[in-house]
Amino acid sequence: MRTRHFHLLGLGCLIFTACTKPPAVSREDHPLPDGIDTARVEPGRRGGVFIQSVPGEPSTFNPLVSEDATSGGFIGLFLDSLTRYNAVTQEVEPGLATRWDIGADNKTFTFHLRSGVRWSDGNPFSADDVLFTFQAIYDSRYPNRSAFDLSVDGKPFRVEKVDELTVRITTPEIFAPFLEYVGGVGILPKHRLGPAFQDGTLQKAWNVSVAQHQPDTLVGTGAFRLRSYQPAERIVFEANPHYWRADSAGVRLPYVDFLVTKLVKDINASTLAFATGQTDAEGLSPDNVAWIERFAKRYEFLVHNRGPSPNSGFVWFNQNPGQDASGKPFVQPHKLTWFTDRRFRQAISHGIDREGIVKGVLFGRGQPLWGPETPANKKWYNPNVTQYPYNPARARALLAEAGFRLGEDGKLRDAKGNLVEFTLNSNQENQLRVNMATVFKENMRDLGITVNLAFLDFGTFVGKIQDSFDYEAGLLGLTGGGDPAGGMSVFSSQGRLHQWYPNQKTPATPWEARIDELMSLQLRTLDYATRRKYFDEVQKIMSDETPYIYLVTANAYVGLKDRWKNIKIPPLGSLVWNLDELWTVFTP
């Protein structure tokens, strides 16, 4: 039956899905380590293949080189960290370290490593590997992103070995997101990468060519190890027979034998692969849910609503008062006056029909957004921010208060008689964004404001935002979620992603100064309640001052085949974050 549908749809059906029984898989059997972690899940059965698809291609398997989410996702499958992030509770859980003590100064963390853990090639894991990892990250020969994240004001952490299974890490200042950030550092095998580190070739290690020809040299402590990689085709991971987790019945995890990732051309192809039953899990965009659900019965899957996504869309005005090399201001002075007027921005916000965007463009699957965090970030979201419901009358009142006049011709003019008109830039690749921009233009016309739309390719647009600053208004999105520390570059007035006026030497406004202060305060305490209080205020100020005029957040959907057990769908991040715990009653 199944194969017939594939032909009907004219899609090349692939291996693994058809009705034939796969050969039995035998796994190496190694004794469980004494420091085994027992997963608190319903014990399952071994076997099965989990299939997913990913648009694009990994650029590397080396965490010191990786910059993109696709590569990072694959690296996370075979490298584990000292701590483990529970995506459902948003809490930090034991990983390669079973427990940790925090010193009285709140700067010293002593990690007690799990004993008996072995690398996927059978070599023992120890404190030396942790030391080696941090040594590699901080080495100036190997510039990488982690080095920046794992330092305070440019000063690195001090990492010391206490004994074979104990590591002490000291931060120069109190550093709030420490545990979460350390949890993101995949521990590297010294016995494998030590020589490359010595002779300066560490950045060439574990590149895509190595992954293709010597997959067994990519050694980790994660639930899986790389078995094969065929570019533009598929990546196959197999269960790591030395993995450090087991279920309550003493069966070593992961349950699945193989994890197959098909590499497809684009997101459309990935969605289609899931909708036609070729893959086991897929994140779905709200406008596609309706038709995909029609295939749910035939291909035995279910579409779960994860609730609001962590992605926010917003419009902002360029408030940069600077000039380019020739002395020409980035923004015309009279326009800068509008853009820096809070009432103008609030009026714009009141003039946007967000409910309409949700209903029309997102098929009703989303909600209006008022602040920098979406409700998906349960741990940090502040629901009590200022809201700007659709209210053209209120918008007109605010504009009148700010000195704008509506002329006989229905066009708005400022106090000096300048016509209110600006150009909104966005990137053309994202059709949802293009639709939002056209709605915005129409909404603004109701207020007498002329908006010209200019769609650029993403690179050109980012160049305008970050280098040349020669634009008036922009529409983009950011993916939020996670710790407030991750938003430093957005909220802090010196930040590069502080898009309305980046890289300020001193804060331009009192409220930006206050946000700077709050952001550095929240970074210097480990107490969640205190941090939460500071970050709530940041969100409130952002909504009051509306440097970003937030639009909507779409709901996130995930499709998953019915046959998988122990599914726990988190509001944020990867849908199958607990891949090691999944099991199935049927083999494929």
Binding site: D287, N288, W291, G360, G364, T423, V439, F455
Partner: protein, 350 residues
């Protein structure tokens, strides 16, 4: 020559039909603001992906059925049984300027708000596809005409001069055309678009695209014109003109070039589809006409989302049908013109 041409064209049914079709299309494009019930930017977020509204005869008048949104999550609409609202002919609607000059408010037909008439359904933000198709025709068809005019002008001048002057001018012109023809067209198009886009404001994209397409297209015309001029130059009537002592410019513009017109008319007709398709390709790739303007290529590009197919929003593909029709019509007309103009290609029995 003109009357003969039209007469012999009228005798060919395929040519006649396509000529009428093209006249209708260009007429529709010219009078788009009047024919369309609304303006292309008018959105209705409560009625996105609305199917085409059915027309019914009720109470002796042509009426539009009313619809109800049954399921917003799949954009499913259902006609409300027995309910319809009459079309109002020559009624007032959104203001516009006919030919970009004459302010007017009268539309061929509208319906009373809050009802809407979507002859070809609505798009992702509830804009009328029929209206956008009409306005888009102005751009898509206009690009063909303007482009062909520019190309013919360039091709005629450069080819004519090259053929008549010969020598170094000929070599220079022909090497240039060879260079242009050797460069892969689409890549050059994309490169030019990227290089020039920052110099043009977004509403001048239309002009930019025409200029790019013409800058690439004149080489072929120039080469053929040169060939024609080269052979005409040796004909007795030119020799006679030479002997009579006429000036070279007079010979070129009075005697040589008019004799290439018949070729030009046919070539131009046959190359119009190239421009229409070129614009469609650019807009489809997101490099051509941009929102909120409309063109057939842009509309088609926006319909390439899988959900359009899976949820069967077929009316969003109508710009594709319009492009196909236009291209076929131009090709048939071009064939008929060639038969009419060039007796040597005429088949026996005609």
């Amino acid at each position: 020559m003109g009357a003969d041409l039209i007469q012999s064209l009228l005798r060919r049914p395929a040519g006649l039909v396509s000529a009428i079709l093209l006249l209708l299309l260009y007429g529709a494009a010219l009078f788009a603001p009047f024919l369309a019930p609304t303006v292309p930017s008018a959105q209705d977020l409560q009625r996105t992906y609305h199917p085409p509204t059915a027309l019914v005869w009720q109470d002796g008048r042509l009426c539009v059925r009313l619809y109800r949104l049954v399921d917003p999550s799949t954009a499913t609409y259902q006609p409300i049984a027995g309910q319809a609202t009459p079309l109002r002919w020559f009624s007032e609607g959104p203001a516009y300027r006919l030919f970009g000059l004459i302010p007017a408010k009268t539309h061929l037909f509208t319906v009373e708000a809050p009802a809407v008439v979507y002859l070809l359904g609505s798009d992702a933000t509830g804009r009328d596809v029929f209206t956008r198709l009409l306005y888009g025709a102005g751009i898509s068809l206009g690009i063909g005409l303007v482009g062909v005019f520019l190309t013919s002008l360039l091709g005629l001048t450069i080819g004519g001069l090259a053929g008549y002057l010969g020598g170094w001018a000929d070599s220079l012109a022909m090497r240039l055309t060879e260079f242009l023809m050797a460069v892969p067209g689409l890549y050059l198009l994309l490169a030019l678009r990227a290089a020039l886009s920052s110099r043009f404001p977004s509403d001048a994209t239309f002009l930019l695209i025409v200029v790019i397409l013409s800058a690439l297209g004149w080489a072929g015309t120039a080469r053929v014109v040169r060939g024609l001029v080269l052979s005409l130059r040796e004909r007795p009537f030119i020799l006679a003109a030479n002997i009579l002592g006429q000036r070279p410019t007079v010979i070129l513009f009075r005697h040589l070039l008019p004799n290439t017109f018949s070729y030009l008319v046919v070539a131009a007709t046959l190359s119009v589809p190239g421009y229409i398709l070129g614009e469609a390709a650019l807009s489809f790739l997101g490099l051509g006409i941009q929102e909120p303007s409309s063109s057939w290529g842009l509309m088609l590009g926006q319909a390439q989302d899988i959900k359009i197919f899976m949820l069967n929003f077929w009316w969003l593909l109508t710009p594709g049908a319009a492009i196909i029709l236009t291209v076929i019509a131009f090709n048939l007309l071009g064939d008929a013109l060639r038969d009419a103009v060039d007796p040597r290609f005429r088949l026996p029995g005609r």
